[in-house]
Every structure is written in C-alpha cells, then in structure tokens.
C-alpha cells in the first residue's frame, strides 16, 4: 500500500465515521434519557434519505401519509390520557402537534404538486416528516410503557424497527435510490480530492455536535434532558416530565438520523433496509462508549469508519464481520471491568 491509498482510505473512513458519530451520539442521548436502545434509528436514516430522494425525483413519498396517520393515533392516545381532566389548552396543543403539523407539511407538498422543489426545501420537508414520525413513535410505542424495564423497552424497540422497515418497503419498493448531492463542487489538496458532499458531511457533523453541546450546556430544556438522564426521580420531583424529555430526545434522534441519511444518499445507493446496517455501526460506537460517554462514542465512531474502510480494501467480503467483531473485545473488557449490577428499577 502506498501513501495515496492510505490517505484515500483514511478520508473515506473519516467521512463514514462522522456519520456513525452522529448516529452513535443520538443513540447515547436516547438511551441516557429514556433507557431505550433505539433500533429504529436505522429507519430514520432510510426514511430521511429516501424521502429526500423521492421529493427530488418529483414523487410524493409515502412517509408523509405515515406521519399523518401516526399523528392521528398519537392524538387519540393523548385524548385517552387526558380523559380524566380534559383541559381545552392541552387538547388544542395536542391538535396542533399531532394533527395540524403533519397536515401542514402535506399541504406544502401538495401545493408543490409533484414538481421537484429546490434542494433546501426538499431537505427541510424530509427532516420535518421524519421528525414528526420520530415524535409520534415515542408517543405511541414508548410513552405508555416508559416506566417498564430496559428489556421490555428493547423488545418494543425491535418491534418498531420491524414495523417501520415494512412500511419502508411499501413506500419505496425494493429498488435502491440515490439523491442529488448538496454540492457538486470539489477541491483538490495534494493527491486528495474533497467533494462538496464530503465537506458537507464534515461541516454538518461538526455543526451538529457543537449545536448539541450548546443545547445541553446552556439551555433550560437541554439541562432538563441531562437531569432526566442523571436522575429520573429527581427530575420528576423538579417538575420535569419524563414524557417531555423522551419526546425531545426522540425528536433530536430522528432529525439526526434523517440528516445522516440525506448526507449519505448522494454517496451510496440506499435501499429500504440499508439504514439498519448503518445504524448498527453507530450502535457499535455507542457500545464502545458504554452508552454513556459522548466523546468516547464520537472517537469510537471514527475508529469504526476507518476499520471499515481498511477492511473493505484488504478483505471486502469480510468488511461487516470485521466491523461488528470490534464489539466483542469491548464487551469482554467492559464485563470484566464493571462490577455486577442489578437493573435499576424506578
């Protein structure tokens, strides 16, 4: 191997690693706040990517119908919860969030009438649709069982993944799709060529990480989310609703997933089930970070990306095997180092 190939592989690894870092951070965030291992993260990626690709091709993506339908179910759940104390303000808020919001997105898409909008509008619409799905997913599948054990939440999470993946097949078919690049420019430094897309990946990843850091460090809602992660009962006694924290966490995770999807769909062809595998690599990083440490997760994600790039060069058939094998020594080391703990119940 010469230096040029080494640099190419590193560049490739870091680009993919940046995406895995975003996904890993979202997984850590959701687990810390809600104790849910977010398997459907992969579907947020697929839905974001394929919604964007469909919109760019001038098609109406099926995800918007799913968002509207889930909104109606979420509203019904809200009404059932409010039945003992039906305040007009709560009901109106629920209508705005669950009914008006997805219908407004649909309205905009309908007004476009199948004409391909510009890239920025398509990205914004895709993000909003996936954000809505993420929010309603928490409301429907997880909020009613928020106080059960990690295992029950995991089972629900797997169920959501399978259901959403099925919807993905219905909406987008078995064919792969690609989307238009955010920028077709490229710059060359020495032997390396940086495409506009890869620069967008770095830029957006860094911007998101800084954004999350500011959100958690300096805003009341960010601090409330951290508080829920640190001490759930303490947070409830301070008046912070577990359900509010869960909704914000899912909103962030779904938007991060969708952004990741939109960033990679111009680089690789995505199928209805590709997101799961990409999400799993973020999961490997999150596990190396112990599902608690954000910096460790980000660093591990870059490592996962690089290992993947090098193994696809040396032994491309075993690429996935090598990446997922990374998790084994980490789990062994962690289980040896950590004292035995009973699962926390609250």
């Amino acid at each position: 191997m010469n230096t040029t190939i080494l640099l190419f592989l590193l560049q490739d690894g870091i680009t993919n690693g940046a995406i895995y870092a975003l996904l890993g951070l979202a997984l850590v965030l959701v687990f810390a706040v809600t104790r849910i291992i977010l398997i459907p993260q992969g579907e947020f990626i697929t839905f974001g990517a394929l919604t964007y690709a469909s919109l760019s091709a001038g098609q109406m993506p099926g995800t918007i119908k799913l968002a509207v339908a889930m909104g109606v179910v979420a509203f019904a759940f809200d009404l059932f919860t409010f039945r003992k104390a039906l305040h007009a303000r709560r009901v109106l808020r629920s209508i705005a969030v669950n009914i008006v919001f997805p219908l407004a997105i649909w309205g905009v898409m309908w007004a476009l009438g199948g004409r391909p909008g510009n890239i920025a509008l398509n990205i914004a619409l895709s993000l909003l649709i996936v954000a809505a799905i993420g929010l309603y997913l928490y409301r429907i599948a997880f909020q009613p069982i928020a106080h059960t054990s990690v295992l029950v939440l995991l089972i629900a999470s797997v169920g959501c993944h399978l259901a959403l993946q099925g919807f993905g097949l219905v909406f987008f078919g078995a064919e792969g799709q690609r989307g238009p690049a955010i920028s077709s420019d490229a710059i060359t430094i020495g032997a390396l060529r940086f495409t506009g897309q890869s620069i967008a990946v770095y830029g957006i990843t860094i911007a998101l990480i800084v954004g999350l850091w500011l959100f958690f460090g300096y805003t009341l809602y960010g601090k409330a989310l951290r508080a829920t992660a640190v001490n759930r009962l303490g947070a409830r006694l301070a008046g912070i609703r577990t359900s509010l924290s869960g909704q914000i966490a899912f909103l962030l995770a779904s938007v991060i997933g969708a952004i990741s999807g939109i960033l990679i769909v111009p680089i690789t062809t995505l199928y209805y089930d590709t997101g799961f595998l990409i999400g799993l690599k973020g999961f490997v990083a999150a596990i190396i970070g112990g599902l608690v440490s954000y910096p460790l997760t980000a660093a591990a994600a870059i490592l996962v990306g690089c290992v993947e790039a090098f193994s696809s060069f040396y032994a491309s058939n075993y690429k996935e095997v090598i990446v997922f094998t990374l998790i084994l020594p980490v789990l062994v080391l962690r289980s040896l180092a950590a004292p035995e703990v009973e699962e926390e119940k609250d």
């Binding site: 951290r226 640190v230 006694l237």
Partner: protein, 243 residues
C-alpha cells in the same frame, strides 16, 4: 387556618403488605407538622404516596383540589414539593443548574426571586454554585435538595428525614432554616426520626407505628405524652437537647 393538605383514609401497599393503613392527615396553611415514628413505621412510604411516587388508595386534596389522580410533575406545579430521603440530586451537574431546574415549572421572574431567597437561606450554596452536586458534603447536599425544592416556590414542603446522617451542628442549622420557612409563608410536613428536634419546631405532630397513626395533637402535648416520652424521647425529655 384552612387545610392546605388533606389526606383521608389513605392506604398504601407493597403487593399484599399494607405499609400504611387508614391514615388521616391534615396540614394547614402556615403550619409545621411533623410525623414521628420508628424506622419502618411507614413514614417515608406515606410521603412518597402523597407525592404520587407510590400508588395510594384514599383521597389526597391539596389547596382545595383533588390531586390523587394527577402525576408527580403536576403536583409539583400545584405547589406540593418533596425533598426525598435520598435527596435525588443531579450529581453530575453544578449547584446552580440543580437549583435552576427546581424552577422548571415557574416563570423566569419568580425563578429569579427564588434564587435570591434560596441563596439567602443557604449562603453556603452561593459560595459553591459552580461545584458539582455530587462533590458536596452530606450537609451541603441536604441544603441543595431543600434549595431545589424551594426554587419552585412551593406552598407545602415535605421533608423526609432531613437530619439523617448529618453532624449535629448541621442538623441544628437545618432545623433553624425549617422554622424560618414558616415565617416565609411555606408550610412544612416533616418526617423525622429525631423526634426531640422535630417536636421542638413543629406546631402539631402525628405519631406513627406499624403503618397507622396512633396519636396526634399539638407538638407540645405530644412531647409530654408518657408513651411518646418512653418510646421516642428517652426518659430525659425535659431540658435534654439532641441538637
């Protein structure tokens, strides 16, 4: 004085075991009420159930409204606040953020006044406002837990064993502050094993044994009751000082 908290015929069970039986409890506005009793009498269980952490059979009315069906968070917003036995602080966050989150449900102007009030009551917290809650001493953590609860400007503060595991000088400090709260318009429901200290600052008292209230009345009457003296205060209640 009207009833601020009215608990009627309360039962709390862990599975088949009833930890609290047929309890009637009342806390009026501007009053310090204490529940004394031995370890395992059901005091903490009762407080947790009133707060909504444990399911309670019976009725809980607060400030004239039935709160027995609403969530913990809504009880907090209604002005009911609990400082739990284990304090439940946000250990990896600093003192100021812990306090700030205590005011999560109230407007910014009230929160600013709450900050001032809490820092006046606990000057130590102001000195340590950038320190992580988990690194504070036991006494400081208790002050922070009380401070966080007070940030939400509660009408009734429920304290669960505030003196547990603390040095006598700090216990004295905390009890002094509890009696100051009454002057500031906050009613207090105090659960305490240190019966002597609790009865000194309380207006009224309940005595709990094996999940039931066996006595109630003015704190001074309870303090001179023969049975209470024998069981909880030892034989030297007159002039003795535990704090």
């Amino acid at each position: 004085m009207s009833a601020l908290l009215q608990v009627s015929d309360a039962h709390v069970a862990y599975g088949k075991v009833e930890a609290v039986r047929a309890v009637n409890l009342e806390v009026r506005t501007d009053e310090i009420v204490t529940i004394i009793g031995a370890n395992g009498a059901g005091k903490t269980t009762l407080l947790n159930a009133v707060m909504g952490i444990l399911p309670l059979k019976g009725s809980v009315a607060f400030a004239g409204h039935d709160v027995s069906k609403i969530d913990i968070e809504d009880r907090v917003a209604a002005g009911l606040s609990l400082v739990p036995e284990h304090r439940e602080l946000f250990a990896t966050m600093n003192v100021e953020d812990n306090l700030l989150l205590g005011a999560f449900r109230i407007d910014k102007a009230t929160a600013a006044r709450s900050f001032e009030h809490v820092y006046t009551l606990f000057p130590r917290l102001k000195e340590r406002r950038k320190q992580l809650a988990g690194t504070l001493s036991g006494g400081e953590q208790q002050m922070l837990a009380m401070g966080r609860a007070l940030m939400g400007a509660p009408k009734l503060l429920m304290l669960d064993e505030p003196s547990l595991g603390l040095a006598p000088i700090i216990v004295a400090d905390i009890f002094r502050i509890v009696s100051e709260l009454k002057a500031a318009g906050v009613s207090v429901l105090l659960v305490e094993q240190n019966a002597q200290a609790a009865l000194k600052i309380a207006d009224r008292a309940y005595v709990m044994e094996l999940g039931e209230f066996i006595l109630d009345g003015a704190a001074s009457d309870i303090a001179s009751n023969q049975r209470v003296v024998a069981s909880y205060l030892g034989f030297q209640h007159e002039g003795a000082s535990a704090i």
